[in-house]
Symmetry: C2
Subunit: 214 residues, 2 copies
Amino acid sequence: MAKTVSPLRTSKATIDRLPLYFRTLRLAQDEGIDIISSEELGRRLGITPEQIRKDLASFGQFGKKGVGYYVNELKRNVGEILGLNRHWNIAIVGIGHLGVALANYQNFVSLGFNLVALFDQDPNVIGQRVNHVKVEDSKQLARIVEERHIQIGIIAVPAAFAQEVADELVAAGLRGIWNFAPVKLEVPASVRLVNEDLSIGLSSLSYHLTHAEG
Amino acid sequence: MAKTVSPLRTSKATIDRLPLYFRTLRLAQDEGIDIISSEELGRRLGITPEQIRKDLASFGQFGKKGVGYYVNELKRNVGEILGLNRHWNIAIVGIGHLGVALANYQNFVSLGFNLVALFDQDPNVIGQRVNHVKVEDSKQLARIVEERHIQIGIIAVPAAFAQEVADELVAAGLRGIWNFAPVKLEVPASVRLVNEDLSIGLSSLSYHLTHAEG
């Protein structure tokens, strides 16, 4: 079925769209849809059907001409390309309101991510449990990251402390950082950094409301 | 200087990139950069310089050949195109950990959004203050939305309640909804819905870690 994935031949724009495909397919699966056309996928994603056929073709043969894409199969394959079948171990640093909200985020599990550690430096927070995981002292970070084979760290501390935490995560050997602090972090090229910037969604909404007014 | 914006002639892909341009220009401004080339913008955004020149040209004449873009001027213009100079009034519904984290989000103000109301249905939460704004009873939503000219509603309730809240916001006359609940909402075409799906950032990280392993 699917050919070997060759990310080198795939454009960054296509790779950036893969999580969107995965989410849309997950929602279609929840709705009980078995087969979906590139037209319907395009409508849901705001992308042309031509672009969708081109994107998915670069990863292999997932569709059937004149029928559409099998939702379950395509979702499984896109999930594999995204590496979601690997069960990454993740830790959250900073257990304030944002950290607690993230720790309770149900979709982590369904996406195959294991939340295995929570860190904070506040003695009043250390020892508490969030979503069955105990909050541990940030001073133990390096030891625990190694012991529990943590690959991804989520930064949920205030902006002023984010770079310091990023440095600690890098020193501890983490390979990916998901940053929620509204600040630009410096990390070595070997560490993958994804910034979650809430201003993006809000700016997009602002644009569409502005131009809908005419 | 900038020509009249004509969103009808602008592709959805270009519009989706505008908040990214704005964020990158904001960070460059924070770093004290006065002039930025399309090459440097491209490097920071992971987009080709050709695409950047094409995107920005569709909105007007912001650059100077052989010099680059003036960061402050370009940021102000992109901000205007995004409607960020309009001071939208926003409300958050659901003051759990996520709602509190959002209410404390500093960038709202710097982006020109005014947080004017917080709603919850829990009597233990109603009356509390978060970031100087008092939490009010969700039953008062329709009245307060009208009185305070609220245009954008943020849904931070659990998935099971999100559609109900969306219906109330629509009935109250809101024009934009920013949804953090991991569920697909149905709203009329006249209301703009932006979904903040945390699985996107994490999936993207997973992809890059998977394919960096080789």
